[in-house]
């Protein structure tokens, strides 16, 4: 009897509470899309005084070093933009969330800051962005992933900057045949990570090898593998003439070191994520300096461009003693892409998600001062097909210098990019 009484009371309470809920909740629907006093239509993340941009990054996981450089560069960018008056009469506010390369945390972070952001200038990790692709598209939230896998193409709201991994590898194979004496019938090795990054890159190398009559010897590893002795043994047994490297910096260093020590003196061509300047302080340095090249869409920090030199000086002033790598200009230009889109959207008096996205997609030749113009009007193809070839260099700022200027190989020009 007593129990029944309690239950009845609970039910009554619940109904009462529900009734109360309907009138007092912040979530209650109401109000048309807001328009500020200045006649600009606003949307999520935009108030009369601020524009919030969300950064979803990795500061505690395997890509912490990338995340740190990108985030600091973007904080610097928006700080300077604010000092110069902000955009649209509003100041930028950067909200940073760290997911430690954990998909669940990334999804949680997006759920938190997505509805409060006008754009996302940095989202690390292709598995994370892939997991959220549908939602980002529905939210029409301009997002710049810091991953260059082809699976991220094909979404209007997601802007992959520069080249994708496969394009870099095609340009890399082209470079090997033109300058390193690789010819039809030769075997080339490809060491790659499981997952989007490695598999996108492998698509490119296979395409190029097929066109040029080469044979690819594949070795797939996991991000936790550290010692590449077994892989070198396999490459040696297959008598490869060159090796493509689409793994993390540590694995690349191990591979190159072991190969060279064992007398396997061949050229190595890495994807942009395969190299970090920190490696030049380790015993692998001599091997990396010898015959290792990095393919990337962005100019290195050592490039002699005025915009780059200013960025380097500003960055060093703001973050003295911190690693300065090629992720700094990458993060900077991604922030600039967002800034440009916001300014264009402001001119059209529409700072809603849709407005910012439309403004962004109207730019056919974006050029952030670091070379490599990008075309944002389509989203089923990479924004650029030109890759720089970099070479590690101990003396240079950022640990690498331009070996060959950005160029599109004939192979890459006609390459049909797989989408999605």
């Amino acid at each position: 009897m007593a129990e029944f009484g309690t239950r009845a009371r609970i039910a009554t309470l619940a109904v009462l509470a529900l009734a109360a809920a309907s009138c007092a909740s912040d979530k209650a629907v109401g109000g048309a899309p807001a328009t500020g006093g200045d006649g600009v239509k606003t949307g999520p993340g935009v108030t009369a005084t601020t524009i919030t941009v969300g950064v979803v990054t990795d500061l505690t996981g395997p890509y912490a070093s990338l995340g740190k450089s990108l985030t600091q560069a973007q904080q610097l960018y928006f700080e300077q933009a604010n000092a110069a008056g902000g955009a649209c009469g509003r100041k930028y506010e950067v909200v940073v969330r760290d997911h430690g390369y954990d998909t669940q945390k990334a999804v949680a972070a997006y759920t938190e800051i997505g509805p409060k952001s006008a754009a996302i200038p940095q989202f690390i990790g292709s598995p994370m962005v892939t997991a959220l692709k549908q939602r980002i598209d529905t939210d029409k939230l301009l997002t710049i992933p810091m991953a260059w896998a082809t699976s991220l193409l094909g979404s209007r709201a997601i802007q992959v900057t520069g080249t994708t991994y496969d394009i870099d590898m095609i340009n890399g194979v082209d470079f090997l045949t033109k300058e390193k004496g690789i010819k039809a019938g030769d075997k080339i090795g490809h060491l790659y990570f499981e997952g989007d990054y490695g598999e996108s890159a492998l698509n490119g190398s296979k395409y190029a090898a097929d066109k040029l009559g080469l044979e690819v010897v594949e070795q797939k590893i996991k991000a936790t593998d550290q010692d590449m002795s077994a892989q070198v043994a396999a490459f040696k047994a297959a008598k490869v003439k060159a090796v493509l490297v689409s793994v993390g910096p540590r694995q690349a260093a191990s591979l190159v070191g072991v190969a060279l020590a064992g007398g396997m003196d061949v050229p190595f061509v890495g994807s942009n994520s395969a190299y970090a300047p920190q490696l030049l302080d380790t015993p692998a340095a001599p091997a990396l300096l010898k015959d290792f090249y990095v393919m990337t869409a962005g100019a290195p920090v050592s490039a002699p461009m005025p915009a780059m030199q200013k960025l380097v000086a500003d960055y060093q002033a703001k973050y003295p003693g911190q690693v300065l790598d090629n992720a700094v200009p990458t993060g900077w230009s991604a922030a600039m892409i967002v800034d440009e889109a916001v300014k264009k959207a402001c001119a059209a008096k529409d700072l809603s998600h849709e407005g910012i996205l439309t403004a962004h997609r109207s730019q056919a030749a974006f050029e952030g001062g670091f070379g490599t113009p990008m075309d944002f009007t389509f989203f089923d193809k990479p924004a650029s097909r030109a890759s720089y070839i970099l070479k590690p260099d101990k003396a240079a700022v950022g640990g690498s210098v331009v070996f060959k200027e950005a160029a599109v190989s004939d192979l890459a020009k006609d390459y049909p990019v797989p989408v999605g």
Partner: protein, 296 residues
């Protein structure tokens, strides 16, 4: 054939390093019946000390400091936490060591940050050529050191007072205590030894062919779990055998992955665990482990 031999030799030398970590597990398990999950952070602590101290002290002194430091960390964990935890089951103590590991690893990886730390070892990237086979000098040293240490432990277990106390404790802690074995001392020394072994293992895991110590070094500690179990958690010989089996399996499976493509790419990581399951099905206490007999 050359490839096979090369992979085999590499597998054996990596296996020897795994055996060192597994030996640490075994020593702790023998003395306290606790499965120790803090090994990952002990590894990191030892390696971190060597990396930070070698520019100032030189490699050998730094190594000594690293080994001593990791031993101290191990001993402190035992003294401050394990000894004081009054819980019924050893399973719960194992979970406590997970907590300790999370604490230490988080702090150490924060200290390491995004750097890759070199350990300043004297072998650098030298390789030995044995006929057609090539092997890194560090690996030869690792093999030698591991073999020497494991032999030393086998002998110590048999012939020293400490070894007898340890074995007596493993057999029956209560009776051992009644016979005058100081359980606290046995357990403390076991943790210190495990810490020291982990530091030595860390050294060999972070030198050539790997580029240096960084936050991902802890992943290697995972390989020592199957090594310790498939050999038998209470057997020193088992730790050696287990380490070698894991090392060789991993090397061969990764080296021949193109031929083993039907098993899926990247089988090298999962293979040691599958071997472990296969062995446990036939010998639930591992190859050399003692089967627990219950008399009522």
């Amino acid at each position: 054939m050359t490839t096979f031999l090369e992979l085999l030799v590499n597998g054996i030398s990596v296996g020897a390093v795994y055996a060192l970590i597994a030996l640490g597990f075994v020593v702790i398990f023998k003395a306290t019946e606790v499965v120790n999950f803090t090994h990952a952070s002990l590894l990191l602590a030892g390696g971190f000390l060597v990396a930070k101290l070698h520019p100032a002290l030189g490699f050998w002194l730094a190594l000594a400091a690293g080994v001593a430091g990791a031993a101290l960390v191990g001993a402190l964990i035992e003294f401050l936490i394990i000894r004081r935890a009054r819980v019924g089951s050893h399973g719960v103590l194992a979970i406590v060591t997970i907590g300790v590991d999370i604490l230490l690893t988080t702090e150490l990886t924060r200290e390491i940050g995004t750097d890759v730390l070199a350990l300043g070892d004297p072998w650098r990237d030298q390789v030995l050529h044995l006929g057609p086979i090539m092997i890194a000098e560090t690996r030869v040293v690792a093999l030698g050191v591991a073999a020497a240490l494991i032999t030393a432990f086998l002998l110590a277990f048999k012939f020293t007072g400490w070894g007898v106390a340890m074995r007596a404790t493993a057999e029956d802690a209560e009776t051992a205590a009644l016979m005058g074995v100081r359980l606290g001392r046995v357990s403390l020394s076991a943790w210190a030894v495990a810490g020291a072994l982990a530091a030595i293992a860390a050294l060999f895991l972070c030198v050539f062919p790997t580029p240096g110590l960084d936050r991902s070094t802890t992943a290697a500690a995972m390989k020592a779990f199957p090594a310790a179990i498939l050999g038998g958690l209470d057997s020193t010989t088992g730790a050696l055998a287990g380490g070698l089996i894991v090392g060789v399996t991993e090397a061969l499976m990764s080296g021949y992955q193109s031929q083993l493509a039907f098993l899926g790419r990247g089988i090298g990581d999962a293979a040691p665990f599958l071997v472990m399951i296969a062995i446990l099905l036939f010998r639930p206490a591992g190859i050399f482990g003692t089967k627990e007999l219950a008399r009522v």
